[in-house]
């Protein structure tokens, strides 16, 4: 472990007894036990195999099961409209953008990325009546990882495709479900490579420019599980 083990010094020393003479006049026993008590702290430390709780073998850290936990939510419950047929990052929120970056956390083969994102929409602002049949929107999650070639935003899970519930015909009934909807996604990723993770974010797009995705509350978290 790079350190010499602590040497014990409390050998039991006593004076050979002689017939007819007391042999404990020099307090050997008291000295011995006093020293023993003083050393007991060191003894515990040196005898407990420190390598069992080191990071070399098992990668236990302060939180043994979760190596990293990052979280951010839209703390002020504000909403924002998103439209456009190319992906853009969800940036609104009382705590900042969904794009949260952090100090690089190394991961190994077999570590588990556990990601969750959920959000609410407010269809009343989504001009559904004017966009019947055009109300699809897409949401995807990304993590920023570096596997040796520089930090790269990488898709996690799959691109999710959602709509507000209108049917798909030019004529006929319409079901623009008014009210709040909550959507959620949980993705697991177990890399077969090593690297570092430095961020997470959410991107959205709509299938038609005329349709707004009104996103309200959101909640995003990423864990790396390692033991």
């Amino acid at each position: 472990m790079g350190e010499e083990p602590v040497q014990m010094s409390n050998n039991l020393i006593y004076t050979n007894g002689q017939a007819g003479q007391p042999s404990n006049a020099n307090n050997e026993t008291d000295n011995f036990f006093n020293q023993l008590a003083t050393d007991s702290g060191q003894i515990d430390q040196s005898n407990t195999r420190t390598e069992w709780v080191s990071t070399r073998h098992i990668d236990w850290q302060d939180k043994p099961l979760i190596k990293m936990y990052a979280h951010r939510d839209n703390s002020n419950h504000s909403s924002n409209n998103y439209n456009g047929t190319t992906y853009q990052t969800v940036t609104h929120g009382g705590s900042g953008s969904t794009e949260l970056t952090f100090t690089a956390v190394p991961f190994r083969v077999g570590d588990v990325f556990r990601y969750h994102f959920n959000f609410r929409t407010n269809p009343s602002n989504n001009d559904l009546g004017a966009n019947k049949g055009r109300d699809y929107f897409w949401v995807k999650a990304q993590i920023q990882i570096d596997t040796g070639g520089g930090a790269t935003w990488t898709d996690l899970g799959f691109d999710t495709r959602n709509s507000f519930g209108t049917h798909r015909a030019a004529a006929g009934s319409d079901y623009p479900c008014a009210g709040y909807r909550m959507y959620g996604m949980t993705f697991i990723h177990i890399p077969g490579y090593t690297g570092t993770v430095t961020g997470m974010r959410v991107q959205v797009r709509t299938e038609h420019n005329s349709m707004n995705l009104n996103m309200e509350n959101w909640n995003q978290q990423l864990k790396v599980v390692g033991a």
Binding site: R49, F158, H167, G184, T186
Partner: protein, 248 residues
């Protein structure tokens, strides 16, 4: 480590033998000689299994499950990810979406498996479980739509179809239903459905199935003249199934 000894009573002139000291010291000395580990860390507190790094295993049982076996738990997942494309107005399905029509594909009006020839991975995971609990979830994009039918006669009529049909997603562990979405109605949704179940030390398969009402099941007579046939379909455009096995 308590400091203790037995008081020795002797009279002036008695010999005080080394054994008197040694006997008292013996209990403490034993702890130096190897048993201190036991006292400070239970024998079962740490064993060789816990010293292993996570073991990643891919596609061990033929359904593209990726697993990580760790000292106290294991994770497993598989996903079906397609290249989604834009649709045209009023159209439902990007080219690579999974779409199945009950008239053509002969559904059962019960739990149906995904067609593994299309959904090649993501709806099943297989792994070696250990006694404990399974906690997991499926994130899945499902969709169903209303249709529209037209009939002749005097006067002619049109009617919306499948407006109140429901769909449902279920998760089965070794054949037993352990989680379900509840009824979901018209729309395209990304569902995040949790499940949990006790599990033994065994080979485990978790499967996602779907259920789709068809109003025509009631009388067995579908609308033959359809203006829009979306009501006959069940759609799925992405799925990630995962499970965590927490060992007992």
């Amino acid at each position: 480590m308590a400091r203790s000894w037995t008081k020795e009573c002797f009279k002036d002139g008695d010999q005080f033998k080394a054994d008197h000291f040694n006997r008292d010291a013996d209990g403490i000395a034993q702890q130096f000689n190897g048993q201190l580990d036991q006292n400070n860390m239970p024998l079962n507190g740490c064993h060789s299994e816990q010293l292993k790094v996570p073991q990643r295993v891919s596609n061990a049982f033929g359904v593209n499950t990726v697993s990580s076996y760790m000292p106290t738990q294991s994770y497993h997942y598989a996903q079906w990810r397609i290249t989604n494309t834009n649709t045209t107005d009023y159209n439902v399905d990007p080219a690579s979406i999974y779409a199945t029509n009950w008239e053509e594909d002969n559904w059962d009006p019960f739990w149906n498996l995904f067609d593994y020839s299309v959904v090649t991975q993501g709806s099943r995971i297989r792994f070696e479980s250990k006694e404990g609990m399974i906690i997991g979830g499926v994130t899945i994009n499902v969709e169903q739509r209303t249709g529209r039918a037209r009939g002749g006669g005097d006067p002619g009529w049109t009617k919306n179809t499948s407006a109140y049909d429901a769909m449902e997603i279920g998760i089965f562990c070794n054949g037993v239903l352990i989680g379900r979405s509840g009824k979901i109605y018209t729309g395209a949704y990304c569902l995040d459905i949790p499940f949990s179940t006790p599990i033994g030390t065994q080979y485990t398969e978790i499967v996602v199935k779907w259920f789709r009402d068809q109003e025509s099941f009631i009388d067995g007579d579908p609308w033959h003249t359809l203006e829009v046939d979306h009501g006959l379909y069940f759609y799925m455009s992405g799925m990630l199934l995962w499970a965590r096995n927490q060992y007992r």
